[in-house]
C-alpha cells in the first residue's frame, strides 16, 4: 500500500532525534542551546506522530503534529524572550549559575 521504508526506520530516527535532544537538555549549559535541544526533541516526537499516522492510515497523528508545532512555536517565543532578557542584563548564560530560586 505505502511505498518507502517501514515504520521502524521512521521510529528509529525519531528516537535518535529525541535522545539527542534529551542529551542536549541535560548536558549543555547555555540556555539557548537547551532551547535548541528541546526543539529537536519536539521534532523527534512529531516525526513519530506522523509515522504512526501514516502507518495507521489515520489523519489524527498529523493534525496533532500540527498542534505540537504551534505549541513549540509559542514556547520558543517565550524562551527566546527570556534568553534575550538575560543577555540584556549581562547575566551569565549558564544555567548552573542561574540558581537563585533555590530552597
Amino acid at each position: 500500500m505505502l511505498q518507502g521504508p517501514g515504520i521502524a526506520w521512521y521510529l528509529g530516527i525519531a528516537a535518535f532525534l529525541f535522545a539527542t535532544g534529551a542529551l542536549g537538555v541535560l548536558i549543555r549549559r547555555n540556555p539557548l542551546i537547551i532551547l535548541l535541544s528541546l526543539e529537536i526533541m519536539l521534532n523527534g516526537g512529531n516525526l513519530a506522530l506522523i509515522a504512526f499516522s501514516r502507518h495507521a492510515g489515520n489523519g489524527a497523528g498529523q493534525i496533532f503534529a500540527l498542534a505540537v508545532m504551534a505549541v513549540a512555536a509559542s514556547e520558543v517565543c517565550v524562551g527566546l524572550g527570556l534568553v534575550v532578557a538575560l543577555h540584556r542584563r549581562r547575566l551569565a548564560m549558564d544555567v548552573d549559575k542561574l540558581s537563585e530560586l533555590r530552597g
Binding site: 534529551a22 537538555v25 541535560l26 537547551i34 544555567v95 548552573d96 542561574l98 540558581s99 537563585e100 530560586l101 533555590r102 530552597g103
Partner: protein, 626 residues
C-alpha cells in the same frame, strides 16, 4: 420520736450556717452561745427520740427518709435517719457531752481572734457526728464519717499559723481518708451483690456471701474503724492531733469521733459475725493497741499526749469488747469513757489555760494547791479511768475483760493482756496526776500567784462531768443489773460466747481492781513520794519516746516513695516526653523541611533530571502493569 431525730441532726447545722453567714456581724461571745445553744437543742431532740423510743419499746426502731440522696439505675440511697436503741444512745452521748464541751469552750477560747470560726467548726463537727450515728444506711454513715474527718481536720489545724498544727491536721485527714477508701471498697462489694446499702439488706446479704467475700467486706469496714479510732496500725495521727485546742481534743479525740469505729463495728455486727475471724482480729488489734499505747503513755511529758495515748488504749478496750461479741459492754465503756476522758481533758485544759498554754507536765508541779476544784475533778476522772469502784470505769472495763475471759483460749490471752493494761493504766494515770498535782513543785514552774481557777462556764461542765464519772457507771452492773444490755439487745445482742459466768466476772473484777490499784501505788512511790527509782532501759525508753518508730516507718514506706515517684514522674517522663513532645514535633517538622529543602537546588538540570527519571519510571510501570 422521728421529729426529735431530725431536730437533733439539723440544729447544729443551723448553728454553723448562722455563724458563717453572720460573720463579723455577730460578736464572738454570741457565736459561742449560738453554737452551745444549737448543740443543747440537739440534745433536747435526742432526749425526745430516746424517750419516744422507750415508750414504744426498744425493738420498734424507725427509719425516716427525707429525700433520695443518690440514685443510679436501681441503686438507691436516701437521706435517712434511724431511731433505734443504738443510735439514740449515741445521739445522747454526742450531743450531751458535746454540749458541755462547747459550753466550756466559751471560756477556754475567750480572747482568741478567730473564735467565731472555732464555734462554726464545732457545730459542724457535732452535725457530722450526729449524721454518722443517725445515718439510716451505710452511705449516709459514710457521708457522716467523711464529714467528721473534715471537721477534725479543720479543728486540729485551727491555729493554722503553726506549721505543726497544719501538718497534724493533714496527717489526720489523710489517715482517715485511707479508712474511707477501705470502707468504700467494702461498700462496692455489697452493692455488687445486693444493689443496696440499707442496713437490713446489707446484713441479709452478708449471710449469703462466700467466706472470702464477707471477710473482705468486714476487713474494709475494719480498716475504716481502725483509722477513725486510731488503733494500730493507723494510730499515728492521734497524738499529733493534740495540736488543736484542748476542748477539741476532749470532744473529738476522746468522747466522740474516735469512738465512731466502735460504733461502726457494733452497728454492722451482723456482717462481722459472718466474718468471725475479722472480728477476732479487731479484738486482737484493740488489745495490742491497749498495751502499746499504755507503754508509750509512760514516757510522755506533754499532759495532753498522755491523755491521748490513754484514749487510744481505752478504745482498745472497746474494740476488744466489740470484737469478742460483747457489744453492749463495748458501748457501755464508750459511754463511761466519754464522761471521764472528756473530764480529764477539760481538767487538763483548766490547768493549761491557767498556765497560759503550758502543756509540759514537768513544769506544772504543785498546781494542785491553787486549783483545788480542778484537782478533785481530775482525781475523779483518774479514778474512773483506772477503774476503781465505785467510779464509772470499774463497771464498764471489768465487764469487757470478763466477756473476753469467757471466749475460748484466744479470749483468755486477750483478757490477760487487758489486765496487764489495767496495771499500765493505773501507772501512767497516776504518774500524770502526781507530776501535775503532787505536792512537789515541778522544774521551771511559773509563779503560782497569778494562777487561779477558771471561769464558771469552764467549771460547770467539768463539775457535771465529774459527777457523771462517779455515778455514770451505776447504770449497769453486770451480771446483777444490766438495763443497758437489755436496751441494746434488739440491735446488738451479745454473742453467746461473750456472756461470762459469774465467777469469770468476779475474777475479772478482782484482778482488774487489784492491778489498777497496784499501778497507782507504784506511781505514787515513784512520782509522789520519789522513793522508788524508775528502772533505766535506755533502748526501750528511746523506742517508746519515738512511739515505736511507726511515724518513721510510714514516712519511709508510704510518704517518701509517693513524693519520690511524683517527682521522678515529672522529671523523667512529664518534662522530657510529654511537654517536650510538642516542641519536639515542631522541631521535627522543621528538620524535615530542612532536609527537603536540599531537593530544591535551583539548578535546571536537577529538575529536568527528576522529570526524566520520573517519566521513565512511569513508562516502565505502565508497561509492566499492562
Amino acid at each position: 420520736m422521728i421529729a426529735g431525730a431530725w431536730l437533733c441532726l439539723f440544729a447544729p447545722l443551723a448553728g454553723t450556717l448562722a455563724i458563717t453567714v453572720g460573720g463579723n456581724r455577730i460578736s464572738r461571745l454570741a457565736a459561742g452561745w449560738l453554737s452551745t445553744a444549737s448543740v443543747f437543742v440537739a440534745f433536747g431532740g435526742a432526749a425526745w427520740s430516746f424517750f419516744g423510743l422507750r415508750a414504744h419499746g426498744s425493738e420498734h426502731g424507725a427509719l425516716s427518709t427525707a429525700w433520695v440522696w443518690l440514685q443510679a439505675g436501681t441503686f438507691k440511697a436516701g437521706l435517712s435517719v434511724l431511731v433505734d436503741p443504738l443510735s439514740t444512745m449515741m445521739m445522747l452521748i454526742v450531743s450531751g457531752v458535746g454540749g458541755l464541751i462547747v459550753l466550756y469552750s466559751i471560756g477556754y477560747m475567750d480572747g482568741d481572734d478567730e473564735e467565731r470560726r472555732y464555734f462554726a467548726y464545732m457545730s459542724l463537727f457535732v452535725f457530722s457526728m450526729l449524721l454518722l450515728v443517725e445515718g439510716g444506711n451505710l452511705l449516709i454513715l459514710l457521708a457522716g464519717w467523711g464529714l467528721v474527718g473534715l471537721s477534725s481536720y479543720l479543728l486540729i489545724g485551727f491555729w493554722h499559723e503553726r506549721p505543726t498544727a497544719v501538718a497534724a491536721a493533714k496527717k489526720a485527714f489523710v489517715m482517715n481518708a485511707i479508712g474511707d477508701a477501705t470502707m468504700a471498697l467494702a461498700f462496692f462489694v455489697l452493692i455488687a451483690h445486693s444493689n443496696s446499702l440499707s442496713f437490713a439488706t446489707s446484713f441479709a446479704t452478708a449471710g449469703h456471701l462466700s467466706e472470702t467475700t464477707v471477710n473482705l467486706v468486714a476487713l474494709g469496714l475494719l480498716g475504716g474503724a481502725v483509722a477513725k479510732s486510731a488503733q494500730i496500725p493507723l494510730h499515728t495521727w492521734l497524738p499529733d492531733a493534740m495540736e488543736g485546742p484542748t476542748p477539741v481534743s476532749a470532744l473529738i479525740h476522746a468522747a466522740t469521733m474516735v469512738t465512731a469505729g466502735v460504733y461502726l463495728i457494733v452497728r454492722t455486727h451482723p456482717i462481722f459475725e459472718q466474718a468471725r475471724t475479722i472480728e477476732l482480729i479487731a479484738a486482737g488489734l484493740g488489745t495490742l493497741t491497749l498495751l502499746v499505747a499504755g507503754l508509750i503513755a509512760l514516757v510522755q511529758t506533754d499532759i495532753k499526749r498522755v491523755i491521748a495515748y490513754s484514749t487510744m488504749s481505752q478504745i482498745g478496750y472497746m474494740f476488744l469488747g466489740a470484737g469478742v461479741g460483747a457489744y453492749a459492754n463495748g458501748m457501755f465503756h464508750l459511754l463511761t469513757h466519754a464522761f471521764f476522758k472528756a473530764l480529764l481533758f477539760l481538767a487538763a485544759g483548766l490547768v493549761i489555760h491557767a498556765l497560759s498554754g503550758e502543756q509540759d507536765m514537768r513544769k506544772m508541779g504543785g498546781i494542785g494547791k491553787v486549783m483545788p476544784w480542778t484537782r478533785w475533778a481530775f482525781l475523779a476522772g483518774a479514778l474512773a479511768l483506772v477503774g476503781l469502784p465505785p467510779f464509772a470505769g470499774f463497771f464498764s472495763k471489768d465487764a469487757i475483760i470478763a466477756a473476753a475471759l469467757h471466749d475460748h483460749w484466744y479470749g483468755v490471752v486477750l483478757a490477760i493482756a487487758a489486765l496487764a493494761g489495767a496495771f499500765l493504766t493505773g501507772l501512767y494515770t497516776f504518774r500524770m496526776y502526781f507530776i501535775v498535782f503532787g505536792p512537789t513543785a515541778g522544774s521551771d514552774t511559773a509563779p503560782r500567784s497569778q494562777t487561779h481557777e477558771g471561769p464558771k462556764t469552764m467549771l460547770v461542765p467539768v463539775g457535771i462531768l465529774a459527777v457523771l464519772s462517779v455515778v455514770g457507771g451505776w447504770i449497769q452492773f453486770s451480771p446483777f443489773w444490766h438495763p443497758l444490755t437489755n436496751w441494746l439487745s434488739p440491735v446488738a445482742a451479745t454473742l453467746g460466747v461473750a456472756e461470762p459466768s459469774n465467777t469469770q466476772e468476779a475474777i475479772a473484777s478482782v484482778f482488774a481492781v487489784v492491778l489498777g490499784l497496784a499501778g497507782a501505788v507504784v506511781a505514787y512511790a515513784v512520782y509522789g513520794q520519789r522513793r522508788l527509782a524508775i528502772p533505766r532501759v535506755p533502748s526501750l525508753q528511746r523506742a517508746l519516746e519515738h512511739k515505736l518508730y511507726f511515724d518513721e516507718a510510714y514516712d519511709a514506706l508510704f510518704y517518701r516513695p509517693a513524693a519520690a515517684m511524683a517527682v521522678s514522674f515529672r522529671r523523667e517522663f512529664e518534662e522530657p516526653v510529654v511537654l517536650a513532645s510538642g516542641s519536639d514535633l515542631g522541631e521535627g517538622a522543621l528538620e524535615l523541611g530542612q532536609g527537603l529543602r536540599r531537593l530544591q537546588t535551583g539548578l535546571l538540570r536537577t529538575y529536568v533530571f527528576f522529570l526524566a527519571t520520573g517519566m521513565a519510571v512511569l513508562a516502565v510501570v505502565f508497561l509492566v502493569v499492562k
